[in-house]
Symmetry: D3
Amino acid sequence: MPKKVITFGEVMMRLSPPGYSKFSQATSFDLVYGGGEANVAISLAYLGMKAAHVTRFPDNALGKAATQFLRKHWLSSEHIIYGGNMIGKYFLEKGAVHRSSEVIYEREGSSFSLIEPSMIDWEVVLKDADWFHWTGITPAISDGAAMCCLEAIKTANRMGITVSGDINSRKNMWKYGKTMQEVMPKLVEHCDIVITSSRGIHEMFNIGQTGDKFRFMAKQLMETFPRIKKVVGKTRRSISASHQQIQGKMWNGTEYIKTETLNVTHVVDRVGTGDAYAAGLIYGLLHYGKDMQALNFATAACALKHTILGDVNIVSLDNVISLMKGDTSGAIRR
Amino acid sequence: MPKKVITFGEVMMRLSPPGYSKFSQATSFDLVYGGGEANVAISLAYLGMKAAHVTRFPDNALGKAATQFLRKHWLSSEHIIYGGNMIGKYFLEKGAVHRSSEVIYEREGSSFSLIEPSMIDWEVVLKDADWFHWTGITPAISDGAAMCCLEAIKTANRMGITVSGDINSRKNMWKYGKTMQEVMPKLVEHCDIVITSSRGIHEMFNIGQTGDKFRFMAKQLMETFPRIKKVVGKTRRSISASHQQIQGKMWNGTEYIKTETLNVTHVVDRVGTGDAYAAGLIYGLLHYGKDMQALNFATAACALKHTILGDVNIVSLDNVISLMKGDTSGAIRR
Amino acid sequence: MPKKVITFGEVMMRLSPPGYSKFSQATSFDLVYGGGEANVAISLAYLGMKAAHVTRFPDNALGKAATQFLRKHWLSSEHIIYGGNMIGKYFLEKGAVHRSSEVIYEREGSSFSLIEPSMIDWEVVLKDADWFHWTGITPAISDGAAMCCLEAIKTANRMGITVSGDINSRKNMWKYGKTMQEVMPKLVEHCDIVITSSRGIHEMFNIGQTGDKFRFMAKQLMETFPRIKKVVGKTRRSISASHQQIQGKMWNGTEYIKTETLNVTHVVDRVGTGDAYAAGLIYGLLHYGKDMQALNFATAACALKHTILGDVNIVSLDNVISLMKGDTSGAIRR
Amino acid sequence: MPKKVITFGEVMMRLSPPGYSKFSQATSFDLVYGGGEANVAISLAYLGMKAAHVTRFPDNALGKAATQFLRKHWLSSEHIIYGGNMIGKYFLEKGAVHRSSEVIYEREGSSFSLIEPSMIDWEVVLKDADWFHWTGITPAISDGAAMCCLEAIKTANRMGITVSGDINSRKNMWKYGKTMQEVMPKLVEHCDIVITSSRGIHEMFNIGQTGDKFRFMAKQLMETFPRIKKVVGKTRRSISASHQQIQGKMWNGTEYIKTETLNVTHVVDRVGTGDAYAAGLIYGLLHYGKDMQALNFATAACALKHTILGDVNIVSLDNVISLMKGDTSGAIRR
Amino acid sequence: MPKKVITFGEVMMRLSPPGYSKFSQATSFDLVYGGGEANVAISLAYLGMKAAHVTRFPDNALGKAATQFLRKHWLSSEHIIYGGNMIGKYFLEKGAVHRSSEVIYEREGSSFSLIEPSMIDWEVVLKDADWFHWTGITPAISDGAAMCCLEAIKTANRMGITVSGDINSRKNMWKYGKTMQEVMPKLVEHCDIVITSSRGIHEMFNIGQTGDKFRFMAKQLMETFPRIKKVVGKTRRSISASHQQIQGKMWNGTEYIKTETLNVTHVVDRVGTGDAYAAGLIYGLLHYGKDMQALNFATAACALKHTILGDVNIVSLDNVISLMKGDTSGAIRR
Amino acid sequence: MPKKVITFGEVMMRLSPPGYSKFSQATSFDLVYGGGEANVAISLAYLGMKAAHVTRFPDNALGKAATQFLRKHWLSSEHIIYGGNMIGKYFLEKGAVHRSSEVIYEREGSSFSLIEPSMIDWEVVLKDADWFHWTGITPAISDGAAMCCLEAIKTANRMGITVSGDINSRKNMWKYGKTMQEVMPKLVEHCDIVITSSRGIHEMFNIGQTGDKFRFMAKQLMETFPRIKKVVGKTRRSISASHQQIQGKMWNGTEYIKTETLNVTHVVDRVGTGDAYAAGLIYGLLHYGKDMQALNFATAACALKHTILGDVNIVSLDNVISLMKGDTSGAIRR
């Protein structure tokens, strides 16, 4: 019987010029949908888990189409709510080599940003769930989103459901009047698993100093929030937009572990690789006895996502296991 | 020496599923730009006039790309201003036969809607211009847009520049606190040429009754606003989404004239046909001695736009003249 | 609370050259999925009903992708089973005017054709269902498929679920050793609603003669199979591949009713229009008090399908109701 | 044993904006190849005859690709010669309804236009051939092309091979110093079958007057050139670019015959329909006992070509026969 | 006078999602055709040889389109036969970096698999040929295919035509009741040139042991089958799906030779690279005096194929010679 | 106030098969426009300068479309003249790894090649300009083009406008009767900045010997033509078509400077990278105090162009500065 995960957050329409075209060259946009938390849910669904994503879309043909995207990628859509007038959007221009990808967000006033605490019945949503996952993007969007997220986390705690948070967000996202320093501790204190970085820990919780090592920061974080069982990070070396290196790392309260570095030499789509990592971690922790295995699984999932178009990691379990076991050859399967 | 026209209004990004796909089938959107007033300017530029459009875009790569679209289609971009965060958008699903096209707007909070009166120096913009054109969409967007439009019209009056207004807008567009009955008279009283419908005249100025004939309504409108020299309308018969019939009509203060009906049997893109009509009218009035010729030119331009993809009528002068003279054969030109 | 329908039958991969290209011109194929019964289920899901389709796909990435197509179009995929090696296929070359569309089937040996009676637990599948629908294609595919279909129908009878059958199939489909005259009566005798034609009734049940009127044949059919409450047909006049006329007709045991003829002047995709008709009929009978309304609804749904790419009728309830009420204008909705 | 036809003439690269886009909207061109005589050869190959086309291409990758296009469409490429630097081209913008298609030629200095009399060994080429076909385009291109064409015609006469000429060309094509009045009689006098129009006969041979009936002109033409056995024409009524009507006509020395009018209500591609007619005529004369049948076949082939993208008529023999027999329904073939 | 090669084997329709899309993302498939032996023939045709491929297709529009693909790529289609109902197919999802390409075959029951010994008149087919090439795929497909292949090989022997076999096939392909150990020796004993691997030699002929060196195995193979003059192999190092390294190797009865390793750093399409190698070898042996040159030519051809979309190596002779001579720069040619 | 540059030269229609397709695989061509000098102007416009390009196009829809391309990319089109019948063209097949890109030119007889000295009023064109740039392609095209170019250069000298020339051209371009040795000195003697190579200097001016160092050659060139202030070159190492390395170098009369080598590991489009370098140099010299900075800027611009589709470098100033400062990571910008 597969385990079930619930995720919560905004899903945006992603519009990107085809291939390596720049915005000024586009006469069409490729259309997919994505959002940190839904990306995690879809990854897990492809790996064989049951997954439902909770979000809010406008009650029009665009909100329906976004829902259909989630359904197609194996999510349950039964807890999606509808209202407001605009679906959040981001425009992505894909970079190459020394040329950066450019992202333009349009999520202000979106249906999701106008969500309010009472709108989701979390007890119903979380029934039968084994895991709840959120990210630091959600509380940055609006007070309503932050409050909803807190409701969900607390309900999960109450129902004995594991909670993971991929807690980083960009400082310049926080525009609704509250700061991340104010909001994040209230959410993080109820988490079991946290994904973050040294810089994130420092910025959000005023722990340590810029430049401190991850191992040290993670330990401090766990002391501050004793519910946390594992603090997980990732070292990304960006040789260029087309060549990335990935290494997983974790402090589990007892030991500090790191994976081998995976060398992604021909990036197809860099977006959503962090979410693939989070999903890999959740899957790994649920299905492998050892943290090292879970971390290897997460790193392999993350590396594979770099070869998939769109935000969501739709590789199969086989692919991840094979890479996790060290087969980097990419040999044809017939 | 070609005549010069200035237009003012929002330009939206238009996103549409390819061909006859519905929103739920789209994996890409075709991308063009359009807006009633810019559509008029571009039509006139293709007919050989000089044309500049005034609008406001976000100061990012999307605002630049929109500007580049206008430049490509022969407009001067020198009076465009930049600011705000979002380009207005509309999503268009093309219908066929009995299936309606569907349009979803997302223009709330757009860069243009946040325009304010002081932002454009109309004396500079209108220098050397022969004509200023606006539409009833602009005052419906925001108070700032309405005020800007009024500034432009009054400046044009002062500088002796002809002003035309295609004054209808949808009632449900007026969301910012003022009504069309309140705002429109102040704009229309300074116009020389007005394009509208019986229903529009009744709704905006409380003239006549539902069902009254255009000829009667137009006469009343000219009595109410004595600056107006011609009131122009159009009868559209929608046999189906794929088959439209168009007839031009005008009350010029002396006589009521009507064109032959043009029969557009295979519609390619219905959007922007009203703007093509307005542009045809402006071109016709500036280049032909007789109102009947101007009206024939406008009707031919309108009919031809139904065969062009996108919002803007990019047919050449030859095409319009040939149809205006009665050649409906569409025979190949080599 | 929406009603729930269950459908059963093969879903094929449909491969077609883009636009009006012929097979010899194709360098790519557009890919959708379709099958008479799934088409009905999807239509009903878009109209607001709950719908699940039962079928069998190969247990590989192609079978999964087909499942994802059904999920995207709002079907429940929970009762789909997997096995065998090949998904059924058809290749469609779209015709125009006097040029016929060409269809090439490749369904011999497909996963569905190898289905066997014991494979589906119909009591589970039909739980909470209000309606079961099958077509004459299914019993023509293989003995296993016919047996499964019979199981389903009988279970539905037992559970008090209405059964409808769109019973025609092409004679040359029956290749597995049994004839339609042998098999069909056993299935039809358990049906409540039958969709067929004069020719179908004559060929399958040896009733009447070639050329007999539908009204007469339908009456005889109901006398032969007393469970049947309504016999429904459709007159299609094919002016050309691009222009079709549709009229619904029904014998309901008491009166013979016919709709107005709808005139589809610019066909986008003719495939699946019969399934849209069947779906419209089911929806109409469940939601309208009068047979005439149900038949009008069905005919409107059928006409609208001609404007939709792909096998499945994804128009909204609004569209159908509007056309059913006589609005043939296809005017833009904003 | 299928009959064999040889054709001779320029094959151009055809570049057209996709769908109904105008030149100013194109960011890509669809690429096919075409030329009046090769179009005839390909039509005949699809109808089951053996066919080889003789032409000259540049000896580079573009000339090879053009050759490959002919090979793909069943022609023998063994008699194609290579030299010069440029493949002839035409740019086609497809019109709709009242908007004309626009064609821009770039064939000056093409490899074919530089062909010279000695370059083709016609005895080798025409070995085993049953028919030789040329058009009035070829002698208009250059003196060399005209001379080569004359060589071919005379060789065919000598070898007892039937010669047909579709002799019209546009007056403004003749730029190399000779006039059509000078050149055409020398070619036409050796022809067995001539396709032309009243206007063509008048312009080229100074027979009759503008406005004279085809029947009368044809008779005169046969008196002037006694080798001619049949003079064939076609009445095209261009309702619009999207709607054409076609009727075949022939004077065979004894009687004047005309076909029914075929009504092509949804044109897909109008180019090459005259060549489809010529091919249909050749096929018809070779395979049917009666001129009326041949003419019906030709008219059906012509009508069907209007539904095919590209210059060449790739419909099958079945399609043509079915329409020739009066089935205009375009019903799906499975 | 170019040499002539005959090849024999199945040609499949290849359907692949565009670019790096996975099956679950595809809304269209790119369409080409391929098969090991036809790939060799086409390579050789592009290099300047005469080439004909012998295969069997269904007698429908799909079989014709496949034939047209071969014709376009310069093959003679005169020996293709038609019958059966299905063209063999494979679905290809292209991998990248650590993500494997996935191939799904659907060739069971294909027209080719139902071929029978008497169907091809090999004496006619092989007339004037200089070389016959087959692969180990063909005898794995069906008994009929194996028998046909044996007929061809023996006829070639009788007619003094060189026979090469690229003899490996996947063990799991052999499903029709015979094993490769049973069938392959009968075919290989009549071959002059064999392409294989250590593993292949071990599996098929029970020579040596797993892990034995190629040089040793090749020598043994030649002792077992004394007709064989050269045994050729290839070392492929798969750094990742996007990065491959290739080295040619040969035992020619006297010496063991190896080429430099070519480093393909940006793979475009990996499929068919082995066939490109085989074709390069055939060309090399026919046109160069020394085995080392032939092997260098083969390795260069193989490396270049990795940069070509589709199964077939359509590079020109220039390209191969230039790389064979050591120019790896890929500098632009103008 | 931005500086203004004027450029002069042919702009060609560029037609290329999509992606990595070869000419023989193309069923469409991607369409952009390019030419060495216009490429420079567009680069500079994207970097924020004012720029106008002077050229000659045919007075038809294709000439207009080319003009619209330049307008879209921010150039002023006011000095373009129209005449002649053909737009120059080049066909580009993109290579990968060891497979070379192939370019086929068709510019003989183009509208630009028929330009004549009197056609441009250079005093008007160069009014308010700060810089004039030309390339060695222009004088190679025709005597008229060379004369026009000389007029422009001399006028610029007279008006005190800096003149730069990117002076290399391919020897085989010079077909109109004059040699580069005859023509180039007359143009180069009036230049302030020269971009060239050792080989170019040797071939054009008979300075030094093959293999002499750039530093030495540049010094000699400046002695020969004392107006020249800087001689600029570039070392390109072509690891493969997909991997290029770039290093800038300059002799400024005092010192010889070289940049770091930039390593472009995943080339998107190699065409126009030299023009991007020239544009970067012009921008750098105008905006930075030190030659080293200018050279770094030029090299960064050149490297970035390799990641942009089409001929023109449309990266923003930010991108170039960031790379110039050493950030090679290509990290996403949000």
